[in-house]
Amino acid sequence: MSVALQVSNVRAKYGDLEILTGVDIDVPFGEVHVLMGPNGSGKSTLCHVLMGKSEYEATGSALVGGTEVMGLPVDERARAGLFEAFQYPVEVPGVSLNDLIDEMGEVRNDAGFADRVADMADSLDMDRFLERSVNGDLSGGEKKRSEMFQLAVASPKVAILDEIDSGLDIDAVREVAGLVEQLRSPDLGVLIITHYSRILRYMKPDKIHVMVGGKVVRTGGPEIAAELEASGYVDLQNGDATVPAPEVATPFDV
């Protein structure tokens, strides 16, 4: 199976602070991978660096369906097939989700776009959100659902879901996990970034990568999650790590 996302030796600095120290991850098409790690290990930075946020100085290679995206503007990365679902999607006042979806359709030469919008709006029950401002006055769960809706209609080659389970109650976590499983397809590779292992109770990832200190220190099967719950990240990098996050949900919508 060919590779949807191939990240090789990605390094990133924020000012003088080196956050990513050489990240390597491969996500094949058709698979769902999870990237775990303690706070401050660089998980969210990796998301932004792959998407091309300008505040980081980054080097290395990231291939999306074989296309090098490092060095491209954010929008070209998106059109190359990369989609990021944000941990805290920003509100865009006055711009309705419908307006945004229309523009997403206009920039994609994609005959199936309008049909996907209709199908997904229906199956995710999005109709009542379409006329509202993007991410405006939505609960945490509704924002995540809006992100998943956009993901589904964008039909990317690679989807990165940043802390998609944060700030959600357990029912919402279960819903999001179910949506990820629904999206699984031979044309898509998914990388889920999470701080907690609880979303793994509701889905079956193919691989788990553990990130500590700005690089991936271990890759393995779903069994790693159980190990981490038992022993934490301590053994993974010369004792230079933290204990796993306690299994406590953050307040509903922070």
Binding site: M51, K53, S54, P73, V74, D75, R77, A78, R79, F83, E84, F86, P89, V90, V92, P93, G94, V95, D99, L100, E103, M104, V107, R108, S133, V134, Q150, A154
Partner: protein, 429 residues
């Protein structure tokens, strides 16, 4: 062509009812006494008047106008009546059959000499400044609407005000009165071609009686060489509501001085604005909200953007009288600065003399938001397209509050086009 002197005032007043002749005589005296306003006066601060009233003359005949009913009027499915004012002269009027009195000021004064006495020249003092004095002294015709008690008119009235002759000054007057428990909506459009170097000093007087509702949409779309010094006043009676939206997209220099008097208990005002300046335009707003009655509500909500070398000014004042308890008042002014050479002034003020009120203000100023742009770009929209969507969204928040949605949509398309043109010329990103 006439210069602004006592002969011109006499000619302007040829059809006056006695009450208007008296007011005119006083105004001529004020006009002769008053100096041009100076930026040292608070209400004229931040702007520079680089012209004199004497630079312009009154024309006896109107120039070639655009036809009534084209352009923005086409977006209104139906109108209750329409009227065209060119260079200060009413040249076309369809009074309609709405049950309201609607027509030219001079025509109505001829038919019913005293009907308009409470509504014309009654609330904007002629000694406010030299321009207000000039309006009262030299203004001749305009439009008037009186909606009788209990009459509800669903379709909007349309008033098209044009400047068509360079070198002229005009003083169109628009008086709109909703009598007790009546309702009406009026759309006023100001326009001129880009090569018309004219001065227009319009006044808009709104009178809303008890339980009445009056909606007014003003679209300022003067050409790039036209200057306008405008005044508006609204007085609202018990449980009445005035809903005024003003869109400012044209002119070389456009000013609107607005005063709202919430006199009746339970009266309310919704004042909304959207303005977008480019090149060397100046858009100047001075808004006063006066709460006099008990239990009154006001919301002022203005959004403006400037690019290139344009300047915008918003100064807002909420005054709550000592006896005006249970007032709810809010003013919001948000500004987008789209070019380094552009500037905006935003000065909210509160003067609260009562002790049981809710009152607040918010004022912001800045460029487009980086995080919002990043989000849109992550969805595949390039930078220019993302910025256009952000500008559209910024104004959408104000335009959705406008009284006539069909007009707001047209204004939105003009604003989008103005920004896009600047992008295509490489003046903004």
């Amino acid at each position: 062509m006439k210069t602004l002197d006592s002969q011109a005032a006499a000619a302007a007043g040829a059809a006056d009812s006695p009450w208007r002749a008296d007011r005119r005589a006083t105004a001529v005296e004020y006009y002769e006494k008053l100096d041009m306003p100076s930026p040292s006066e608070e209400v004229w601060r931040y702007v520079d008047l680089d012209f004199a009233l004497d630079d312009y003359q009154i024309t006896d005949a109107s120039g070639d106008a655009h036809e009534l009913g084209v352009g923005i009027a086409a977006s209104l499915p139906q109108t209750a009546g329409s009227l065209l004012i060119v260079d200060g002269h009413v040249v076309d009027a369809e009074s309609g059959s709405s049950g309201a009195v609607f027509g030219s000021l001079r025509g109505i004064m001829g038919d019913q000499p005293d009907l308009l006495a409470p509504y014309v020249g009654a609330r904007i003092p002629a000694d406010l400044d030299k321009f207000a004095a000039a309006h009262a002294a030299f203004g001749s015709d305009g439009a008037a609407l009186v909606v009788p008690r209990g009459v509800v008119v669903e379709e909007p009235f349309f008033i098209d005000v044009q400047a068509a002759t360079s070198g002229t000054v005009a003083f169109p007057h628009i008086a709109l009165a909703a009598e007790e428990s009546s309702q009406a909506s009026v759309v006023v459009r100001y326009r001129s071609d880009d090569d018309i170097d004219a001065l227009v000093v319009p006044q808009l007087e709104l009178s809303v009686a008890a339980n009445a509702n009056l909606k007014v949409t003003v679209v300022q779309h003067w050409g790039r060489k036209t200057r306008s010094i405008g005044y508006a006043n609204a007085v609202v009676g018990r449980d009445g509501n005035v809903h005024l939206g003003e869109a400012g997209v044209g002119a070389l220099f456009s000013r609107l001085y607005l005063n709202v008097d919430l006199e009746g208990d339970g009266s309310s005002a919704n004042i909304v604005g959207a303005y977008f300046g480019d090149e060397s335009q100046t858009l100047d707003y001075r808004y006063f909200m006066h709460h006099a009655g008990l239990n009154t509500d006001s919301d002022m909500f203005l959004k403006g953007a400037v690019q290139d070398e344009s300047l915008s000014v918003f100064t807002g004042m909420i005054r709550i009288d000592e006896g005006a308890q249970k007032t709810n008042a809010y003013q919001t002014n948000r500004n987008l600065i789209l070019s380094d050479g552009a500037s905006a002034q935003s000065v909210p003020n509160l003067e609260i003399l009562a002790n049981d009120v809710r009152c607040g203000h918010g004022s912001t100023m800045g460029p487009l938001d980086d995080e919002q742009r990043y989000y849109l770009m992550s969805r595949g929209l390039d930078e220019l397209r993302s910025n256009r969507l952000l500008v559209h969204g910024f104004f959408n928040e104000a335009l959705t509050k406008f009284p006539e949605p069909a007009i707001a949509e047209v204004v939105a398309s003009w604003i989008d086009a103005k920004y896009r043109a600047a992008q295509e010329a490489g003046r903004v990103k």
